[in-house]
């Protein structure tokens, strides 16, 4: 039996190992090798693995605030091959929109194919560090999600939040400590980022999770824009 979760169109199948599923927007089509489908009551669901997705890892770790709703518009920074974005696209449904920003042409290749198959995904080949470069092909959003391996992850996140996120909207930052500094201890970096977010006037930290054992040296920060 699938049970609803805090994320829209997202369910948990309880068992020895709980599994996370989203209601598929594209029944019969699988996009990724590691993807498996589940059918219940004539509806098709796609399994979202917390080992491959930081959003799923945050849900599995008990994160309470995501800000995602059916119909939400999302700015997804670091869309990569489109694995997690395709599930965000399931979550927000046909009425939502996911702007997928990715810098590398090599992984964008896969992402374009996913976007072409899903009417609520829009690809943008650009660097998340230069939000002005893509502002003219994006719009204001309800949610900003960022998962990029850059030294200035926090600065890039805050610049995008300032430019694209609506007031009262939610920002999610999947932070990779190793990209910020390989020689400092990850928990020290997490504490430092928490402190920096706490001092900001424009955002409030509303949830925080460390993503171990799903992702090593990663933490998940959720903020609300004032």
């Amino acid at each position: 039996m699938l049970k609803p979760t805090l994320l829209p169109n997202t369910f948990i199948l309880e068992g020895r190992m709980a599994r996370i599923y989203t209601r598929s927007l594209t029944p019969g089509v699988a996009f990724f090798e590691q993807e498996s489908a589940w059918k219940e009551g004539g509806v098709e669901y796609r399994e979202l693995s917390p080992r491959h997705s930081k959003l799923a890892a945050a849900l599995a770790k008990g994160c309470q605030r995501f800000g995602l709703q059916e119909g939400s518009h999302v700015l997804y920074l670091g869309a990569s091959h489109g694995y997690t974005p395709s599930f965000v696209s399931d979550m927000v449904g046909a009425g939502g929109l996911v702007h997928c920003v990715e810098f590398s042409p090599v992984v964008m290749r896969d992402l374009v194919f996913v976007c072409e198959a899903r009417a609520n995904m829009s690809p943008i080949l650009a660097s998340a560090a230069q939000p002005r470069e893509y502002a003219w092909r994006c719009a204001q959003v309800d949610v900003v999600f960022q998962d990029i391996a850059q030294r200035d992850q926090l600065g890039i996140f805050l610049r995008n939040v300032a430019m694209f996120l609506k007031s009262g909207g939610t920002g999610m930052l999947a932070l990779k400590a190793r990209s910020i500094d390989t020689s400092r201890r990850p928990d020290e970096i997490f504490r430092d980022i928490k402190r920096q977010l706490g001092e900001r006037k424009d955002v409030t930290l509303i949830d925080y999770r460390e993503l171990a054992p799903f992702e090593k040296d990663h933490a998940f920060f959720v903020v609300k824009k004032r």
Binding site: N120, M121, P123, E133
Partner: protein
Amino acid sequence: MREILHASGAYAIAPDGVVHAKPGANAPASGEIAAQWAALPEREIPSLLHAVRASLDDDHKAALRAANIAITKEAMRASVAPDSHIIHASAAIEELDSVANRLSKRLRDWYALYYPELEREHRDHKAFVAAVLEYPRRNPASMGGEFSEEDLASALSQAQLLSTIYAQRELMLEYIERMMRLHAPNVTAVAGAMIGAQLIAIAGSLRRLASMPAGTVQLLGAETALFRHLRNRNARPPKHGVIFNHRLLQLAARERRGKVARTLADCISIAARVDYFKGGLVADALVAKVERSVKG
């Protein structure tokens, strides 16, 4: 009334901030829109994006997505540069080497059952494969065991494959040399085609190699050793990455290697900048500088 272009269409903005989507307005050329937005003051952008969002009905959403797919596809087409070929060809060589190495070891073990003396005679894999193909029949005095026709034919077909792999490696190397001389002549002259190609592959492109500090170029390919050192200061810092295999660096006395590696990386870095930004040949002076540093 001001008109703002956006990838989802054109918007008319009234002085009080109200936006009217212009019906039937086709998205104009992306260069034109980008230029208009580049000229906007940063503080105006969030309210404009708010206005765009407010009028993003199903039609405008579809138009925005279609425009972004088209723009992205065009950018993907443009992203294929000579660098891409150099990077793949150099990776192909590395893979051919590793496959040839494994298959050669297997062939040696196998063929040595039949003719151990020949296996022992050739230390070099390539020479061994050539010898096997040239003298598939052994000396009658050999201590090797009996092989049926089929046993021998099977082992020899592996040798055939290896010889094809070695020929393919030559082809790839010639291709890389031509491409490197054409697109990065100075890097090729200073670093050599293969090392230059590996540097471009690790950096990601000639452009990124050219914009790296020389100290980074010196250590490209030694990331494991570098991070080991950064995490634990007891581990000594690496002196060189892929440039380790450079002819002049190999020539240098052990205690001079660090200095030569530094000079070599400086010169490669300058060469990459000239190749990417300016063109022309400056390699002779750079090579002379590295040669002087070898002598100390």
